[in-house]
């Protein structure tokens, strides 16, 4: 079976895209910790629920950024294929 250079690059791009999504671990753990602490805070002070929720969502959205960079790299590798010379 012959594998041309282009096919090889496509396959490696797919593997790279999969590896790039390992970046999703960090934000997952971080958002879980943030949500857990927010739940604890609501338990201690139920009156401040709306403030706690909005602060938690803001912090989680900011923490999500690194995971999204991984997603963008994966997208570029899968669909734009910058490594293939067209």
């Amino acid at each position: 079976m012959n594998i041309s250079g282009d096919d090889f690059i496509r396959g490696c791009s797919a593997i790279g895209a999969g590896l790039a999504l390992i970046a999703g671990i960090g934000p997952g753990v971080g958002q879980g910790i943030a949500a857990g602490h927010a739940a604890a805070a609501v338990g201690r002070n139920p009156g401040a629920k709306s403030d706690i929720t909005s602060t938690m969502l803001l912090g989680q959205a900011v923490a999500e950024t690194t995971g999204l960079y991984g997603l963008l790299v994966a997208m570029l590798l899968m669909f734009v294929k910058p490594l293939l010379n067209k």
């Binding site: 496509r10 797919a14 909005s54 969502l57 803001l58 959205a61 900011v62 999500e64 950024t65 999204l68 960079y69 997603l71 963008l72 997208m75 899968m78 669909f79």
Partner: protein, 241 residues
């Protein structure tokens, strides 16, 4: 050969498509789906704003407000509350801009529900929004902290921190716009994959739940975050003087 050889069954499609091409001083310029969708969103907003303005102007103080006026008042109350609680005494100067930003980004994000391709799923839309925020931050920094204050802030702990502080400043618009872009794009791609790759019988009913999460929830959160961060950065730049 298909453009997406990795996606075997063909009709997965979430790319920006060119509609109309013309030559502008020797450059190829495309009118794409993003332009059209952004124009539709703006048209909806303009009509909404005109109707709201008329409803408010013709409102009768002695009578209870009607349905439409109630919705407008609810929206304004909510946004005024958010902006006032974040920006404090600076709110009055920025409430118009933040409101416009909020409505545009929100309607853009949920326009996937109307069958459009969300304009914010194009980096050419979100990056200018980030640049506007960057311009606001820089302008207010120079206006309120003067040149000496800006230089002092850049060399904060010590002079050698200058390049790091500069990178930190210039990363703001990029991270802001990439966050919005990547979130909306991921929702668009997920929906395109769902509609494109799965058999027909799971496409009835179930996508409603996915649309609620990917379009409504994610879009609303990202709108809130973008406006909130813009407000926080601008109030930081203005300082407490």
């Amino acid at each position: 050969m298909s453009n997406y050889p990795l996606l075997l069954s063909g009709d997965v499609d979430f790319m920006v498509k060119g509609i109309f091409k013309y030559n502008c001083f020797g450059h190829e310029v495309w009118i794409t789906t993003t332009h059209v969708c952004a124009l539709i969103v703006m048209l909806i907003l303009i009509v909404f704003a005109a109707c709201a303005g008329r409803a408010v102007r013709n409102a009768d103080i002695d009578k209870a407000p009607g349905t439409f006026l109630n919705i407008v008042e609810l929206l304004m109350d909510f946004l005024d509350g958010v902006i006032n609680s974040t920006m404090g005494k600076n709110a009055a100067k920025f409430v118009n801009y933040i409101l416009t930003l909020f409505l545009f980004i929100f309607l853009s994000n949920i326009s996937g529900l109307l069958g459009l391709r969300p304009p914010t799923a194009d980096y050419g839309v979100t990056f200018p929004l980030g640049l506007i925020t960057f311009g606001l931050i820089t302008f207010n920094k120079f206006k309120h902290q003067k040149v000496s204050g800006v230089i002092k802030g850049l060399c904060d702990p010590w002079v050698f921190w200058l390049p790091i502080n500069l990178i930190g400043d210039f990363a703001v618009p990029i991270s802001l716009s990439l966050r919005l872009f990547a979130n909306v794009l991921s929702g668009t791609v997920m929906m395109a994959l769902y509609y494109g790759l799965l058999p027909i019988f799971v496409k009835i009913g179930i996508p409603a739940v996915l649309h609620i999460y990917f379009d409504l929830f994610s879009g609303a959160i990202q709108t809130y975050v973008f406006c909130m961060l813009t407000m926080t950065y601008v109030s930081d730049a203005i300082g407490t003087d």
